[in-house]
């Protein structure tokens, strides 16, 4: 398997903007076959595989990040800690570890809009956001976020004034970036739990704003 993998026969339609098309059956068979081999060789434990999937399907996801954001909106001292040393401040919630070992939080303001991309692969802050959405890993987003960020934002329905500075963070190293969205107007007196309801995954990647109170039923 050294050198280049020139395997043929895989379903090329995946590359044409339809990454969630039904998989080519031969690939599903190859995955199943490798898993069986690794289990038979006692290299992996099936319970570990299930635990890994369960963790990122059900336990670790953007609700973690929403709690961090809601506290930063509520507690100026926490926000100050978060912007100064994000890793430690986020660890106060117990959100630590893999693909979030070293965190940076960047703050959106009326004058500055931040967004995050990984042009080279799919780096993403797992402990606070879970696994990245398909679009974040896709060629259209990775290719254009650094070159035409305002066009990308418009595609997400986010229209910025020309006077707003756009800052794009390309995650080329092991720093993982979380955007602190602007706190929506009309949320005075909201509890952290109420605020967290307004914080979406996409707003913490920086492609949308947080929800407004009016938009939440």
């Amino acid at each position: 398997m050294g050198g280049h993998d020139h395997s043929h026969g895989h379903n090329h339609s995946h590359g044409h903007g339809h990454p969630h098309a039904a998989p080519a059956s031969p690939l599903a068979e190859r995955v199943k076959s490798l898993e069986a081999l690794l289990v038979a060789k006692k290299l992996v434990d099936p319970d570990s595989l299930n635990a890994l999937i369960d963790t990122y399907e059900h336990k670790v996801g953007p609700r973690n990040g929403a709690k961090v954001v809601a506290r930063a909106w509520s507690d100026p001292a926490y926000k100050e800690r978060l912007l100064r040393d994000a890793t430690t401040a986020i660890a106060e919630f117990g959100f630590t570890g893999r693909q979030g070992e070293d965190m940076v939080v960047v703050e959106n303001t009326p004058a500055i809009h931040n967004m995050v991309v990984c042009t080279l692969c799919s780096c993403y802050p797992w402990p606070v956001l879970g696994l990245p959405p398909v679009w974040y890993k896709s060629a259209p987003y990775r290719s254009r976020a650094v070159m035409d960020p305002r066009g990308v934002l418009r595609e997400f329905g986010t229209v910025l004034g020309d006077e707003v500075e756009v800052r794009v963070w390309d995650s080329t190293a092991e720093l993982r970036y979380l955007v602190l969205p602007e706190r929506p107007a009309g949320t005075e007196g909201f509890s952290e739990e109420q605020l967290a309801e307004l914080v979406t995954r996409d707003s913490m990647i920086g492609v949308t704003r947080a929800k407004t109170p009016e938009s939440v039923p």
């Binding site: 398997m1 050294g2 280049h4 020139h6 395997s7 895989h10 590359g15 990454p19 969630h20 039904a22 998989p23 599903a28 190859r30 995955v31 199943k32 490798l34 898993e35 081999l37 690794l38 060789k41 290299l43 570990s48 635990a51 890994l52 999937i53 963790t55 990122y56 399907e57 630590t96 570890g97 893999r98 070992e101 940076v104 991309v117 042009t119 080279l120 692969c121 696994l131 959405p133 679009w135 890993k137 896709s138 259209p140 987003y141 650094v146 960020p149 305002r150 595609e155 020309d162 707003v164 500075e165 756009v166 800052r167 963070w169 390309d170 080329t172 190293a173 092991e174 995954r201 996409d202």
Partner: protein, 218 residues
């Protein structure tokens, strides 16, 4: 390497599917490919830079024609064989020729392993070559090996925004050539310095780059 994975600045990739409800996994096999990759990684036979290179180092038509977890799966297949965890014959036949002598971690420890992670930050006392505010030029390095300098910023001039501290250097670490501890910075580029005068004057792009990628701006 200059591969298809280095996508920043490419045209023609089509529209973004912005559906906020698109599921993380789209088939049973991609969940399994994801979990196999992490679980086999617990043996410590490769590091994150090795595994990134195993995914990116393929024909651009293969990379662009493969779905995300398809690339992960092809990467872990390659790593398993290259590190000897699985023989090429075992992979081809699916028949185990030998049982592993080093057991995988107890499933009960998985959560703890994930929560601990593995920081690439190092305590080594290495001096920083640059300070925040310094203008730097990204070196025109072209290597067939692993690197984390996107092509779109090579040869361009930016400004050190902040010093992240000392980190593992991926270009050596991916190829078994050591951690080569050095400072990693966030480097700020004006959109016009990367894409020309048609770019908005207030677009800025921040790229994390290591000392070995940079020189003082001329």
């Amino acid at each position: 390497m200059n591969g298809a994975h280095d996508m920043g600045g490419m045209h023609g990739m089509g529209p973004i599917d912005t559906d906020p409800n698109d599921p993380l996994f789209h088939a049973e096999w991609d969940k399994r490919a994801f979990a196999i990759t992490l679980a086999l990684g617990f043996h410590g036979r490769w590091n994150i830079d090795t595994s990134r290179h195993a995914r990116e180092n393929r024909h651009p038509a293969d990379y662009l024609g493969s779905s995300y977890y398809e690339i992960w799966f092809k990467g872990v297949e390659r790593l398993a064989v290259e590190t000897g965890l699985v023989s090429a014959e075992e992979l081809a036949t699916g028949e185990p020729a030998a049982i592993s002598q080093t057991p995988p971690p107890d499933p009960a420890r998985v959560a703890a392993i994930l929560a601990k992670g593995a920081s690439a930050k190092l305590d080594d006392d290495v001096p920083a070559k640059f300070n925040a505010g310094t203008k730097v030029r990204v070196l025109d390095i072209t290597t067939p090996g692993h690197t984390r300098v996107p092509r779109y910023c090579r040869g361009r001039i930016g400004t050190i925004d902040r010093d992240h501290g000392v980190y593992v250097f991926p270009d050596t670490h991916a190829h078994g050539l050591g951690k080569k501890p050095q400072h990693c910075y966030s480097v700020r580029f004006g959109g016009r310095d990367l894409w020309g005068d048609a770019a908005p004057s207030n677009d800025t792009i921040y790229v994390d780059l290591w000392d070995d990628y940079l020189e003082a701006a001329p």
